[in-house]
């Protein structure tokens, strides 16, 4: 029998509904887990257990009186510390914003709060969601729960570490060049970057306006679908918000893979950025298993991964410079050195380069759209390597181009990463990525859930 802190969101929701335990007992078990292992992974930068406990007490009383508001009622969700919560600062893990007190919830937090969710912690991030694991900031960097000497991925590093370490069942991250999917890949959990505009960004500190997404990070596919369903919805006050009705993203999850055609984008990890032998073998094995489960697997060719990465970087740099320009000019020493080095190039991008990147972006979008005329989903690598050592600056730097996540920030298509094996050499998670057409999240969850059921990785957790 699982301990309370090991339960998924869905299992905890069922346990509370059956009155096996209360929201307070569940939260207390998570707090005990955080006190036990939290110091090893540094996932939490601002604990809010007392406030969350008061919310859990209220949720318990409410449920006893009139039943749950939703399947999330009384359940905890962690927040990357670039997402606003009323009454607390959003520091962005930076000394520049240590006193950045917020009086209102981010739109996505307000949606979850209305569904009954509670918020026990603000979580570590790479500074301003771009820096990288840095040791010259007010808070230590989060560490990988599978091996704390290793990088958990980023920038939603604390979200990945907290969920991977069973401190929280779910957390929100943000993703501009892969920052939900990178820590999900390295921490052995499920991370979704939904279609651009599906989840409101209002109240989330921006990194690059046309690439930013907020996404759910969970240990199971079902939990991810549940959480996204509560997060999604049009927000008239977010200029990038899509006028798309929220859906029940779990509705296709029992249908299995039969009838789906999956385009396997081999050249990303075989030619453009050759993956480690273990990662390549795990991807081939996942494709084979999906085929065995009934999917038709077809090799698909897209533009070079390096083209997508170049466009992502040019747009990201230019848009981020518009946000950080004043601080970069007036107080460069207040950034971590790694963040400064990541942001400064944006001040030297020419306007022409930005517009050229946005023009090339349209062509790249068209190429991916053309692929979806042939297949239902794409299967690609996420990371080309397992997580490197966190204090190996050179290895961390190499990590950034060695991934296949940025293409879908450029195009805005939904993309999910999940575990597809464990490295024999290092005992760290291997990962895959499933990508769908715009607003095709339900089909992604269908394929991911079928793979999760068929593959042997679902119950593997790190021994912290």
């Amino acid at each position: 029998m699982k301990a309370l802190h090991e339960l998924s969101l869905t299992e905890a929701s069922a346990g509370i509904a059956r009155r096996r335990f209360s929201p307070v007992e569940y939260l207390d078990a998570l707090q005990a887990r955080a006190e036990d292992v939290g110091g090893k992974v540094n996932a939490i930068v601002r604990p809010l257990w007392d406030e969350a406990r008061a919310q859990a007490v209220k949720a318990g009383r409410r449920m006893a009186r009139s039943g749950p508001r939703s399947a999330l009622d009384g359940l905890p969700v962690g927040l990357k510390d670039i997402i606003d919560i009323a009454g607390h600062p959003t520091t962005c893990h930076s000394r520049i914003l240590l006193d950045n007190q917020k009086s209102a919830d981010a739109a996505v937090v307000a949606r979850l709060r209305a569904a009954g969710a509670i918020f026990p912690a603000k979580l570590a991030t790479h500074e301003f969601a771009i820096g990288g694991p840095a040791f010259d900031l007010p808070f230590p960097p989060a560490r990988n729960p599978w091996n704390t000497a290793h990088h958990p991925g980023g920038s939603s590093s604390g979200s990945g570490a907290a969920v991977g370490a069973n401190i929280l069942p779910a957390a929100l991250g943000t993703d501009t060049g892969g920052s939900v999917r990178h820590p999900a890949s390295h921490c052995g959990i499920v991370g979704m970057k939904a279609t651009y505009g599906l989840v409101s960004r209002r109240g989330v500190f921006p990194l690059a306006f046309t690439l930013d997404h907020v996404g759910p990070m969970t240990r199971t596919v079902a939990d991810n679908a549940l959480l996204l369903g509560m997060m999604a919805g049009h927000d008239a006050l977010d200029p990038g918000s899509a006028a798309h009705k929220p859906e029940n993203y779990a509705r296709q999850m029992k249908k299995g893979l039969r009838g789906l055609t999956i385009g396997y984008v081999r050249h990303f990890h075989e030619k453009d950025q050759p993956a480690s032998a273990e990662m390549a073998a795990a991807l081939d094995a996942a494709a084979k298993l999906m085929g065995k489960e009934g999917a038709k697997i077809k090799t698909i060719t897209l533009p070079s991964l390096n083209e997508f990465a170049g466009v992502n970087r040019a747009i990201l740099m230019a848009e981020a410079a518009a946000i950080h320009g004043k601080w970069l000019r007036e107080r460069p020493g207040d950034y971590a050195n790694l963040t400064l080095r990541r942001l400064l190039p944006g001040l030297f991008m020419r306007a022409e380069d930005y517009v050229q990147a946005q023009r090339r972006r349209r062509e790249l979008v068209a190429a991916v759209e053309a692929a979806f005329a042939e297949v239902d989903l794409l299967l690609t690598a996420s990371s080309m390597d397992v997580a490197c050592k966190i204090d190996d600056a050179e290895a961390v730097e190499i990590t950034y181009p060695r991934q296949a996540r940025t293409p879908f920030n450029v195009t805005g298509h939904p993309a999910l990463t999940m575990m597809c094996g464990i490295s024999r050499a290092e005992g760290l998670p291997l990962s895959l990525q499933l990508v769908g057409p715009s607003f095709g999240e339900a089909a992604i969850y269908r394929a991911a859930a079928a793979y999760e059921r068929a593959a042997p990785w679902k119950d593997l957790r790190p021994a912290l």
Partner: protein
């Protein structure tokens, strides 16, 4: 009039970008940033069609409720 000291290319570019503090306190990072910006701009092909429209296309605002238009 005394002779002027010629500025390096990095210093000219940094000043043009409004980076004066950083040029003094973080000259190495500024030089790296200039090189990185060139690499980034050269990392993708510009569309061959000079008239290609960038993304996202500009859209005129939807008339607000109560607009006199």
């Amino acid at each position: 009039m005394g002779a002027t000291i010629p500025m390096t290319e990095e210093a000219i570019l940094a000043r043009a970008a409004g980076i004066t503090t950083g040029l003094k306190t973080h000259p190495k990072e500024v030089a790296e940033a200039i090189a990185a910006s060139r690499r980034i701009a050269g990392a993708f092909k510009a569309p061959a069609n000079e008239t290609a429209e960038p993304m996202p296309a500009y859209a005129a605002p939807t008339p607000a409720k109560g607009s006199r238009a």
